[in-house]
C-alpha cells in the first residue's frame, strides 16, 4: 500500500462488504475510495464483492391478486385469525416428536435450558419498548431463539476456524 493511503488494507478489506452495500458513512466511504485509487488489491476485493452481487437480479414486478386487500380485511373482521402456529420446536417441547428429529435438535436440547433464560434476559435487557412487540408472533420468540442459537454456534465455529477479518 502506498504512503498516500492513511488507512490500512486490512481495515479497508473488512469494510468492503458494507462499503459495497452503501452502508458506511460518507466520510468512511470517501476514505475507502481514496485508498482504492492507490490499492489494486483492495480494488479487486471490491470488484469481487460486486461480482457476487450480479447473481441477485431484480425480480419481476409482483402481481397481487385483484381484491386481495378487501378480501383479507373481510376475513379479518369476520374473526379469522389465520393458521395456528406449527408445532412448537424442540426448545419449547423437550421431547421432539419421533420422525421430526432435526439436525440440530441434540445441540438445541443441550443448550435450551440455559439458553432460554439467557436469551430472554438478553432480549428483555436490550429490547426496550420493542420487547412488547414480541407478543406479535407466538412462536417468533422460539424461532428467534433457534436462529440466535444457530447464529452463535456458527459464530463460534467461524471464530474457531476462519476469523471474520481473515480474508
Amino acid at each position: 500500500m502506498s504512503i498516500t493511503s492513511p488507512i490500512q488494507c486490512d481495515v479497508v478489506l473488512a469494510l468492503v462488504p458494507t462499503f459495497v452495500d452503501d452502508e458506511v458513512t460518507d466520510s468512511v466511504a470517501s476514505t475507502v475510495r481514496r485508498h482504492l485509487m492507490d490499492c489494486s488489491a483492495c480494488r479487486n476485493a471490491v470488484q469481487e464483492e460486486q461480482t457476487l452481487r450480479q447473481w441477485f437480479v431484480a425480480a419481476p414486478e409482483v402481481e397481487v391478486p385483484t381484491g386481495f386487500a378487501a378480501h383479507v380485511a373481510r376475513r379479518a373482521f369476520a374473526g379469522d385469525v389465520g393458521l395456528e402456529p406449527a408445532p412448537a420446536p424442540v426448545a419449547a417441547a423437550p421431547e421432539p416428536p419421533a420422525g421430526r428429529v432435526l439436525a440440530f435438535s441434540r445441540a438445541l436440547v443441550a443448550v435450551a435450558a440455559g439458553g432460554l433464560v439467557a436469551i430472554s434476559l438478553f432480549l428483555a435487557g436490550s429490547g426496550g419498548p420493542e420487547v412488547a412487540d414480541l407478543d406479535a408472533g407466538k412462536g417468533l420468540q422460539e424461532a428467534l431463539l433457534e436462529l440466535e442459537q444457530e447464529n452463535q454456534r456458527l459464530e463460534l465455529e467461524d471464530s474457531a476456524s476462519t476469523p471474520e477479518e481473515g480474508r
Partner: protein, 215 residues
C-alpha cells in the same frame, strides 16, 4: 376517525392513524393498510416458495395474524417493521409445516465451519454473459433453496428486497453488527454452494500484480 372517512382520504393517512381506525372497528382502515404493504409482502414471500397459491396464503396469514394482534403493536416502532417480523415468523412457520427447519442445513456438516476457505475465496464466480436474467434468477434461487434459512432470509432481505441494514436489524431484532456478520457468512455460503453447483462459472480472480503494473 375512520368510520366517517372515505377510502381516498384514508389512503393519505399515516400508518398509526390507520392502525387506530382498525382498532376502532373500521374495516376500510385495515384494507388500506393491507393495500399499502401487500406488494412488499408478496415480494418478500415469493422468494421462499415457487407456488403462487402458497405465497398468497402466507401473505394473507401474515395480515390476519397482524390484525388479531394489532393491540399489541407498539406505536413507538414502525408498523412496517412489525408487520415484516410477523411475515418472517409466518414464513418460518410455513417452512416447519413443510418439514423444513428454519435453520435447516443440507450441506455437509463438515463444511459448516469454515465459511470461506482459501479456494473459495480465491475463485471468482460471475454469471455468464449469455445467461438470461431469468436463468440467473433460477440458478440463484436453487442455491438459496439449499442455504439454511437464517442465511437465506438475510440474503433475501438485503439482495432481493434491497432492505437497509437498520430495517433488517429491526425486523430480526438483532444488532446491525449481527446483520453485517450474518450477511457476510451468508454470502460466503452462497458463493461456496454456487461453486459446488455450478463450477462452470468459476474463474480465478485477476491477479492484482498484473493489473498494478498498468497503473
Amino acid at each position: 376517525m375512520g368510520a366517517l372517512m372515505h377510502k381516498p382520504s384514508l389512503e393519505s393517512q399515516d400508518d398509526s392513524l390507520l392502525v387506530q381506525g382498525t382498532l376502532e372497528g373500521d374495516p376500510l382502515c385495515f384494507e388500506v393498510l393491507v393495500e399499502r404493504y401487500q406488494r412488499r409482502l408478496f415480494g418478500l414471500v415469493r422468494h421462499y416458495t415457487r407456488s403462487a397459491v402458497e405465497v398468497e396464503d402466507i401473505v394473507q396469514d401474515t395480515f390476519l395474524k397482524a390484525f388479531s394482534r394489532l393491540e399489541t403493536f407498539q406505536q413507538s416502532s414502525a408498523f412496517y417493521t412489525w408487520l415484516y417480523r410477523i411475515a418472517v415468523n409466518t414464513i418460518l412457520d410455513f417452512m416447519k409445516r413443510q418439514g423444513r427447519s428454519p435453520i435447516r442445513a443440507v450441506e455437509d456438516p463438515e463444511a459448516m465451519g469454515g465459511s470461506m476457505d482459501e479456494t473459495t475465496e480465491r475463485k471468482s464466480i460471475r454469471p455468464d454473459a449469455r445467461l438470461e436474467q431469468a436463468e440467473i434468477s433460477e440458478i440463484t434461487r436453487s442455491v438459496m433453496d439449499d442455504l439454511p434459512e437464517i442465511f437465506r432470509t438475510v440474503l433475501v432481505m438485503r439482495e432481493l428486497e434491497q432492505m437497509r441494514y437498520q430495517d433488517i436489524a429491526d425486523v430480526l431484532q438483532v444488532s446491525i453488527g449481527t446483520v453485517e456478520s450474518r450477511l457476510f457468512r451468508a454470502r460466503a455460503r452462497f458463493k461456496k454452494r454456487l461453486l459446488q453447483l455450478h463450477p462452470e462459472f468459476a474463474a480465478t480472480q485477476s491477479n492484482p500484480s498484473d493489473e498494478e503494473s498498468k497503473s
